[in-house]
Symmetry: C2
Amino acid sequence: MSALDVLADPTRRRIVELLADGGELNATAIAGRFASSRPAISQHLGVLVGGGVLTVRRAGTQRIYRLEPASLAEAGDWLSTQAQRWTRVLDALETALDEDTP
Amino acid sequence: MSALDVLADPTRRRIVELLADGGELNATAIAGRFASSRPAISQHLGVLVGGGVLTVRRAGTQRIYRLEPASLAEAGDWLSTQAQRWTRVLDALETALDEDTP
DNA sequence: CCCGTTCGTAAGTAAATACTTACGCTTACC
DNA sequence: GGTAAGCGTAAGTATTTACTTACGAACGGG
């Protein structure tokens, strides 16, 4: 559920889209896609890793980031669960109304 | 996608859970479930409505809030789309590796 | 063994955010 | 019309957040 906190920032969402599309990327490659400074992106990457959305792997001097789809799925499950719970309540409410007005 | 911005706050997520579970509630009923002041919850409700997550309806002096499941579904779709895109890239990468090492 | 690349961290700052108390506007009811 | 209930808004404040520049550590290549 912490993925929802982490994905509040639009820059971090763009990083996720980048990695979902292009596969693995190192820090400078990611930072190159943004107008912000490299340290700014580095901090975002740290937040994303902390939230379990990304994982890092070292390769020489590089740090290679990749997506952790399980965390996205977890957040998505929470959203769909809430939506389903509500529609279930709504259905029950409507059938109750139908019974009241036969 | 704006739902992800809005759902970053844990209090707002609790409000969503509340409405998903209990159906429609008015402002004071929602505020009663939290330790924060009523104006604080009122502001959160405004943010949720602004983000399309909730809708309001007036009934006398009361404002009755209900969930808008479409917005949650939209955010959930974005999450699952990213996860799927990444797993597709991953699969393509693995099959490419298999072809390289026959 | 030095040097360039890669990258995170430190320190500082401006802006956004979540909260508080105080106030005012509706609507309902007698 | 007066009064109470319900609720949003204003104003102010403390904390968080996202950014910047400056610096330092780790690895690889000549």
